[in-house]
């Protein structure tokens, strides 16, 4: 269809595309159509999935005639670019790719235009994932909430999944685990065989809070609960203790000798070289792990639902959200919204996956795409994405994460017991939140 439209006169082609898009997104996008928009500038990070996103930008430009300029920065530099742009009198960028860790800061600062203010009644297309309601912000309770204002559209769904090496599994007669006990049992078997680490955690200080979150929530715990009266710190609960004991056990008994220094790059390296039999890692790594130039385990890895505990299964949201700044002209805001609307389409998301991206729709699972071995991660990804949680859903997330990371890391490297680490983390959370003016309650120490 797209080739045919290219042969039509420019105006006719745009009209056809506009009608097609309107039909495709009629349930959500209302009157927002992608045609005749001014060129927009999009701030985005350099990442393994960037090429797949660029392919979608090219597709959008071909289909609509609209133009998008990408401003690509390393991960660490993007946040400063975003801050500088949204804090100025007039924004440099029309669309911002915002990491889940930065969402609360950007939302609470009032830097984005709620999509409902740009187009009355605007809602995400059916099937688009919300990753623990992180696309909406409730300014009154200062947290993410499904009943809050819609602030953006996910652009990449980078949640964590359970990876396992099928070759190692087959050699040892192991089956896909569904509980933490089964993960530990498989890890013990792999470790005993001696050719690979049984299970690798991502326990360096930069990563540990993100990596630990699925353990905590699947054991029925949480970092804290946000209520109308303030914050109730819950990390040092019996559920939290069970989660950290599981985590430390896997990290120290089945992983590399110094797990407290393992960051994302190290973990992916261990997976890609076949040195890790199992790990919980981001689905964004899948493309690299299936690339023969970067991986020795092409076709040998599989993705699964993160194991279930007393609290069910949970994954941590690590996705990216496209947000439209408040400090740009209405024309540019509409142009950015047109792209976001187009991007949610099922055909677009299918093409995104085929280009190597991670989709932001959950309804691609169980279809023709997931039946294709190349995209065998889709079902596991969709299941984990549906369980994604935002562990620290407040603007102070970054400060809390830094403090908690140190205490969890200390538990992994043996400087503290699990109980001591959780008590220290709870005290740190309480101190930070009290200083920020929250009313804080917390239970007795473990």
């Amino acid at each position: 269809m797209f080739d045919q439209t290219k042969k039509l006169p420019k105006m006719t082609r745009r009209a056809v595309n506009g009608l097609a898009l309107a039909a495709l997104l009629s349930t959500s996008a209302g009157a927002v159509l992608a045609a005749d928009q001014p060129t927009i500038r999009l701030a985005i990070n350099q990442s393994p999935w960037l090429d797949s996103f660029i392919a979608m930008v090219d597709k959008y430009e071909d289909e609509t005639g609209n133009k998008i300029e990408l401003d690509v920065s390393p991960y660490a530099g993007l946040l400063e670019k975003v801050r500088n742009s949204v804090r100025g009198a007039e924004g440099e960028f029309d669309l911002l790719n915002i990491n889940s860790l930065w969402l609360s800061e950007i939302y609470s600062g009032g830097f984005l235009a709620p999509l409902g203010e740009l187009s009355d009644g605007y809602a995400l297309a059916d099937g688009v994932l919300t990753y623990g309601d992180t696309v909406s912000w409730n300014a009154d309770s200062n947290t993410f909430a499904a009943d809050g204002a819609l602030m953006g559209v996910p652009l990449n769904g980078n949640v964590q999944v359970l990876y396992y090496n099928t070759e190692i599994y087959a050699g040892l007669g192991l089956t896909e685990p569904t509980t933490w006990a089964e993960v530990q049992s498989n890890a013990d078997a792999i470790q005993a065989a001696g050719d690979a680490y049984g299970f690798v955690t991502r326990s360096g200080r930069k990563s540990i809070v993100y990596n630990f979150t699925p353990y905590l929530f699947s054991h029925g715990g949480s970092f804290f609960e946000v209520g109308a009266d303030g914050i109730n710190v819950t990390i040092n609960s019996s559920e939290g203790l069970a989660a950290l004991d599981t985590y430390v056990g896997l990290a120290t008994q089945s992983g590399p000798p110094s797990p407290g220094a393992v960051e994302q790059g190290d973990l992916i390296q261990l997976l890609s070289t076949g040195r890790a039999g199992q790990a919980i890692a981001v689905i964004g790594a899948w493309g690299g792990l299936e690339n023969p130039e970067k991986s020795a385990v092409v076709g040998k890895l599989n993705a699964a639902l993160i194991p279930t505990g007393a609290g069910g299964s949970a994954s941590s949201a690590g996705h990216w959200v496209g947000g439209i700044p408040a400090n740009i002209s209405p024309e540019r805001q509409q142009a950015a919204l047109a792209f976001l609307t187009w991007f949610q389409g099922k055909d677009v998301q299918t093409a995104y996956v085929q280009a190597g991206g991670v989709p932001v729709r959950g309804d691609l699972a169980g279809g023709a795409l997931s039946a294709n071995d190349t995209y065998r991660f889709i079902d596991a990804y969709s299941a984990n994405a549906a369980n994604a949680v935002m562990g620290l859903p407040v603007p102070e997330a970054s400060e809390i994460s830094s403090a908690v990371a140190l205490q969890l890391n200390r538990a992994v490297i043996g400087e503290m017991t699990s109980a001591e680490a959780l008590n220290a983390a709870a005290a740190d959370i309480a101190t930070i939140m009290e200083r920020e003016g929250y009313t804080v309650t917390r239970g007795d120490d473990l």
């Binding site: 360096g204 403090a403 140190l406 101190t431």
Partner: protein, 310 residues
């Protein structure tokens, strides 16, 4: 004709001209140096937040400092590590740099440029490349060092992942990186020494060690002092090696002051707290430099006094 201050009109006029012509430069320099510091002082007394896209400044007095001194555990771990780091690397760099400069001075016409080129190589490599390179060398699983150890049937050692070794590994990389800087200044200092005075000094000594102790080191003292002060200041600024190799971990074993400030100021956007940390660090480094200068002056005075006596 002279006035009561013993200056002629021409001398007075010259002095006025010198003062007036220097004034713009002094003013610009003072503004560029003083303004950021005053800005830092001001920000350290506020909590800065953002509401509806606008910055909100809440005056909090000294509470950022109180928080820093009572609650910021990671920062103070960084202070301890930075002091250990600074003393260790500067000591090694001074000793190695001076030794390398002496070796080059004594090398032949072919060896001299060759050694100079080789010794200077680390300082011209960009920090990001150094981080990548040493991460590959020191890595536990696939690192070059461990492959060498493995060849001899030893290891592997987790240079960056073991809390007891990680800071040592960072210091090793820093010594490798910055010793050429010391070498360069020492070489310039040695080449600038008066050859006649050196020759005269050599007549009175019996060995190289006596020459080193009684001739070279005393004559090189000004260069040594300046180089050491430079290196102390630069060592307190350590950031890139920590950021690229360990991110401050495991635990707080490689946390350094600048990394704490970076995290608080940029990653966490806590402008008030970050300013308070920066100011405390600034004052501490200035204090260290003042104390170092005093100690050096005392040592020089004592040395010249003992020479006079002998």
């Amino acid at each position: 004709m002279t006035n009561m201050h013993g200056m002629t009109p021409t001398q007075r006029s010259n002095r006025r001209w010198i003062t007036v012509s220097l004034l713009p430069a002094i003013t610009i320099f003072a503004l560029l140096s003083a303004f950021p510091v005053f800005n830092l002082i001001g920000l350290s007394l506020f909590k800065v937040s953002w509401e509806e896209g606008k910055a909100v400044y809440d005056f909090v007095g000294l509470s950022n400092y109180k928080y820093l001194f009572t609650e910021e555990e990671i920062y103070w771990a960084g202070v301890r590590n930075t002091l250990v780091f600074s003393v260790t690397v500067v000591t090694f760099q001074m000793a190695l740099g001076f030794t390398m400069a002496l070796a080059v001075m004594r090398a032949g016409s072919i060896g001299r440029p060759l050694l100079t080129g080789v010794f200077l190589l680390p300082i011209v490599i960009p920090p990001i490349v150094i981080g990548t390179m040493w991460r590959l060398i020191l890595g536990r699983e696939f690192g070059l060092f461990n492959q060498i150890l493995d060849f001899f049937g030893a290891g592997p050692i987790d240079w960056l992942g073991n809390p007891d070794l990680a800071l040592g590994a960072i210091m090793f990389v820093d010594i490798w990186h910055w010793t050429p800087f010391v070498f360069l200044l020492m070489l310039a200092g040695l080449e600038g020494l008066d050859e006649e005075v050196l020759e005269a000094g050599r007549i009175d000594v019996r060995s190289f060690w006596q020459e080193l102790r009684h001739v070279l080191v005393p004559m090189m003292l000004p260069t040594i002092v300046i180089t050491m002060v430079f290196r102390i200041i630069l060592s307190f600024k350590v950031f890139d090696e920590v950021y690229l190799l360990t991110s401050g971990g495991p635990g707080t074993s490689t946390e350094v002051v600048n990394f704490s400030i970076y995290r608080v100021f940029f990653a966490q956007d806590r402008v008030g707290d970050g300013s308070a940390m920066s100011l405390v660090t600034l004052v501490a480094v200035a204090g260290v430099i003042v104390v170092a200068n005093l100690v050096i002056k005392l040592a020089r005075r004592r040395a010249s006094h003992s020479e006079d006596e002998s």
